[in-house]
Symmetry: C2
């Protein structure tokens, strides 16, 4: 295992300490139970947005804590759900009379633990489950996984909360964004979890994993490595079949790097995706290209498309000041 | 070679097309001779800042084209200098009566080609050479290499140019920043240039390359893979010996990912570096952590320290709107 690491046991604490020190103007780290919260709260009571999940997907979610997005994020150990006491402590720390909205990626541990925290919380609380990964069928036994679409939910609903929208509106908006969002990924290599010290799955030198999850879960199929054009086409097609946008539909197009794929390749993927959607007569209105929802040192990428309406677009454009997304501030 | 690529010959064009489409609000791609320029020019004549170099280091330099930083960037083929006609065309396209400043990383091809372009240019023109890599001794035959410190020069001088400072002042400021900046890197893996299709150098499973250049050039020595603490200490120490900051000196601390190292590890490295400098009584005043000056899919990182004065700090904080750095806009 070739990593910048001192001991496996202290990896997460060491990394989070660095994160919170580097962004001390934006966030504050609470060490036990572990969560990251916004340094400065809003001037008025607003709905508090909280997310979390296993670590190893940085900058998701701690990198999206700050003005206009999340109020707190609960990092579990690498690829392991955080515990209910983390979520409860985070919620109690940032809650307001407006209530709390939990934004949860659809993994059974995360869903269960956020549910326990919600039950223990003594303020209005809603939960939305993000399940944007179309690699699995809609009727899969545990549902679809939550992947890179999560940040779009966090950004859009974060802006609405910042503008004072009540809990019911934020929840409805989150559900609309989730409904309008589809993602799928592809891995060219596995990733190595520090605790394991070796790759979590095997891929031959001429193989790629289509529909991979952000922990390296098997997706649709292991395919032969092909041209970017042919591999990305399969992803575009799967997303298209899910969302079936009409002509002139404005979309948000997100090319997300899984960790070890250079930006130059992500832009090449973006070019392929942009042409695919443009040729369908769909309007690519906003874009985001880079490493946002990663899987440690996995080489690969995912595409996410959100069908935008006017208010989603306005909320996307609203000012944000987090360590990983920042504009208008 | 596992990459998102269609053909080796079209890789750069495909990638740049994606880049310029994704950031069409900020940049414009000129295809022949190839350069990226700012979409909107300033309201008044300002010194035009131009950089460039081999591709493979994204987001450097095209990602720093925009308000408050570069006016144009000239990308060569991967790890290959751009040609003088690119630089000349870029300069002619963005030049003003205030003149042109070339910001050049110290590689013989880049230096020579920018020099040829400068000679052909019929407007006031100055060139600064960035040579921040302290892995090599000061008296090395071709001088020290330019690495991640380049973006600090581009940001600080970009802000000064945007505020209307004349060419002589911008040049002097660039030289001050270069003089105040030191960097050093370490690789845990090689990188693969698309044209070659195989790693450019070999590292054993328990080896790291200390002082590596951003093309995988040999640095100080091949060392045994150790704890992050021990490896990063050697880099901190080398930078300290170069800059020898006094107590209470404000510094800018930049942890740069070389491409395939996860953000969680970069923050762990930042934590180690931040403690090193703080324990010396130096004040870490500004920070930047992430992939900014990369080496394709190389695993590794570099540290950069700049000794800040008040005006450098003010220029660093000034608004910037590029694809890779954005705040205040």
């Amino acid at each position: 295992m070739k990593k910048f690491i001192d001991t496996v046991d202290t990896f997460l604490d060491d990394s989070l300490r660095g994160f919170s020190t580097a962004h001390a103007d934006i966030v504050h780290l609470i060490e036990s139970p572990r969560f990251i919260k916004r340094k400065t709260s809003s001037e008025f009571d607003k709905v508090a947005l909280i997310s979390g999940g296993g670590s190893g997907h940085e900058p998701l979610h701690a990198g999206f804590v700050g003005y206009g997005m999340l109020d707190a994020a609960c990092p579990g150990q690498v690829f392991t759900s955080p515990t209910p006491d983390q979520m409860l402590a985070a919620a109690q720390s940032v809650q307001s009379e407006q209530g709390v909205l939990f934004i949860v990626k659809n993994y059974s541990g995360d869903v269960m633990n956020f549910e326990i925290a919600a039950e223990m919380l003594e303020c209005p609380c809603e939960t939305v489950i993000v399940d944007d990964d179309v690699a699995l069928p809609k009727d899969h036994s545990t549902g679809r996984r939550g992947v890179a679409g999560t940040l779009i939910v966090e950004k859009i609903v974060g802006a609405a909360a910042e503008q004072g929208k009540p809990l019911a509106d934020c929840t409805l908006l989150a559900e609309q964004v989730i409904e309008s969002t589809a993602s799928m990924g592809i891995a060219l290599s596995s990733c190595t979890v520090p605790e394991l010290g070796q790759p979590t799955f095997e891929l031959g030198p001429k193989q790629a994993e289509l529909g991979v999850g952000i922990h390296g879960e098997h997706g649709r199929e292991t395919i032969d490595l092909g041209s970017a054009q042919s591999m990305i086409h399969q992803i575009n097609q799967a997303i298209y079949e899910e969302l079936k946008p009409k002509k002139n539909q404005p979309i948000f197009l997100h090319v997300n790097g899984l960790g070890a794929t250079p930006l130059s390749e992500l832009y090449l993927v973006y070019d392929i995706a942009h042409r695919f959607w443009s040729e369908l007569g769909v309007i690519v209105t906003r874009s985001l290209v880079g490493d946002y929802t990663t899987s440690l040192d996995m080489a690969g990428c995912s595409l996410t498309v959100t069908l935008l309406n006017d208010s989603m677009l306005e909320y996307w454009d609203a000012p944000v000041h987090t360590s990983a997304l920042r504009w208008g501030c």
